[in-house]
């Protein structure tokens, strides 16, 4: 089944998800925040959104995984 979502709709949906992610982060739900940013990145994978998702993922990680995520984030 073909997707009929437009670029504008994707971008708007991604913005809404990013906003919710910010709220989740403020409420202390880091895991939920990362999930929402992941979804936002998949909807609208702009460099900013990818970087935001990687940054949030890195903040919840440690060791080499954190290093790896930060290195990828530096590519954007």
């Amino acid at each position: 089944m073909n997707s009929i979502i437009t670029e504008q709709e994707r971008s708007a949906a991604a913005s809404a998800l990013a906003h919710k992610a910010e709220l989740a982060q403020r409420l202390g739900s880091h895991h939920k925040s990362v999930e929402l940013l992941d979804a936002a990145m998949r909807l609208d994978p702009t460099p900013d959104r990818i970087r935001a998702w990687l940054g949030a993922s890195a903040s919840g990680s440690s060791g080499v995984e954190r290093e790896a995520l930060l290195e990828i984030a530096s590519w954007f």
């Binding site: 089944m1 073909n2 997707s3 979502i5 437009t6 670029e7 994707r10 990145m41 998949r42 909807l43 609208d44 994978p45 702009t46 460099p47 990818i50 990687l54 080499v64 995984e65 290093e67 790896a68 995520l69 290195e71 990828i72 590519w75 954007f76």
Partner: protein
């Protein structure tokens, strides 16, 4: 649907080879692919590229390996072949199967055409790092492209294979990390890059559903390229040679390269050998059945002939 992923037929490949869809222009890789040494023909890379680090090399090669074919799709394609051989050979069934195959070929060709257009569009709209990634992959799969029907088909396969092949990449990366051939960091980088690249490939086209269909079609093309199962290891090696050409490789990268080829070849080999073995058994079974049927028919014919002669003798005797 089995026929939709039936191993590719010449019709599908021809439609790609002679189609009007030329490969999209992508930027030569600057960071993910190494500079090609002189004397290497084919896809050219940008001169003056910086040597990539281990993580970037791993990322480029992992995605390259993905493009070479998804083992699950290979398995399904082989099973489809097996099923074709295993079905009875009644004329009506053969005709029906042929009609369905033609429909499947047409569907596949149509999806590939759509995918080629989307790939061109995606290549124009994609951010620079994605263009670099695609450029690295297209360079690395030059050998495959020549078999599969041109760089256009390879480009289509790239976007689609990123979607269908994420699991195998993650699996291979984790195994390499467990064996200490690459760092855990490199494994994480590869898995993450593939995930992001797949998201971009799906989103920049704005045609998520169509790309999913194209993934099936493109995987089919890739399966065609590696149809000769025994040559898979060679093709992996050839692609990695191109990907790593001109790089002063650290020994760990060399180990990674050879181990990657071994793991992929081993996995494909096990699955493919099983399928081929089953297929050969099925063919043998059909052959035995046909021979048995022929013997049975001869016996029946002989019995009928004897019966006829007996009747004739009886009639003549009565007369």
């Amino acid at each position: 649907m089995v026929l939709a992923i039936h191993s590719a037929r010449p019709a599908a490949a021809t439609s790609v080879t002679h189609g009007d869809h030329r490969p999209a222009t992508v930027e030569a890789p600057a960071s993910l692919a190494p500079e090609r040494p002189s004397g290497v023909s084919g896809h050219e890379l940008a001169p003056g590229s910086d040597a990539p680090n281990e993580g970037q090399l791993a990322a480029a090669f992992a995605v390259t390996a993905t493009v070479l074919g998804d083992p699950v799709m290979m398995m399904i394609a082989l099973q489809a072949e097996l099923r074709n051989h295993g079905t009875d050979n009644q004329e009506t069934r053969v005709q029906q199967s042929s009609d369905q195959s033609e429909i499947a070929d047409a569907f596949r060709a149509e999806e590939l055409e759509k995918a080629a257009k989307m790939a061109e569009k995606a290549a124009k709209k994609a951010p620079p790092w994605v263009k670099k990634l695609i450029g690295a992959i297209v360079s690395a799969v030059g050998a495959i492209a020549s078999i599969a029907g041109g760089a256009g088909a390879a480009l289509v396969a790239v976007g689609a294979a990123l979607i269908v092949g994420a699991k195998i990449v993650e699996k291979v990366m984790m195994k390499l990390a467990e064996e200490g051939l690459i760092s855990e960091k490199a494994a994480t980088i590869v898995s993450t890059v593939v995930k992001i690249a797949a998201a971009v490939a799906a989103a920049v086209t704005g045609q998520v559903g169509q790309l999913a269909n194209a993934a099936k079609a493109a995987a089919d093309v890739v399966s065609t390229a590696v149809k000769l199962v025994k040559s898979i290891a060679d093709m992996v090696q050839a692609a990695s040679d191109v990907a790593f050409a001109g790089v002063d490789m650290h020994s760990s990268v060399r180990n990674f390269q050879s181990e990657m080829a071994n793991i992929m070849a081993e996995q494909w080999g096990i699955e493919a050998d099983g399928s081929i073995s089953n297929m050969e058994s099925a063919v043998d079974g059909i052959r035995d059945l046909e021979q048995s049927h022929t013997r049975m028919m001869k016996t029946a014919t002989a019995a009928l002939s004897i019966q006829d002669r007996t009747r004739m003798a009886a009639v003549q005797g009565m007369a």
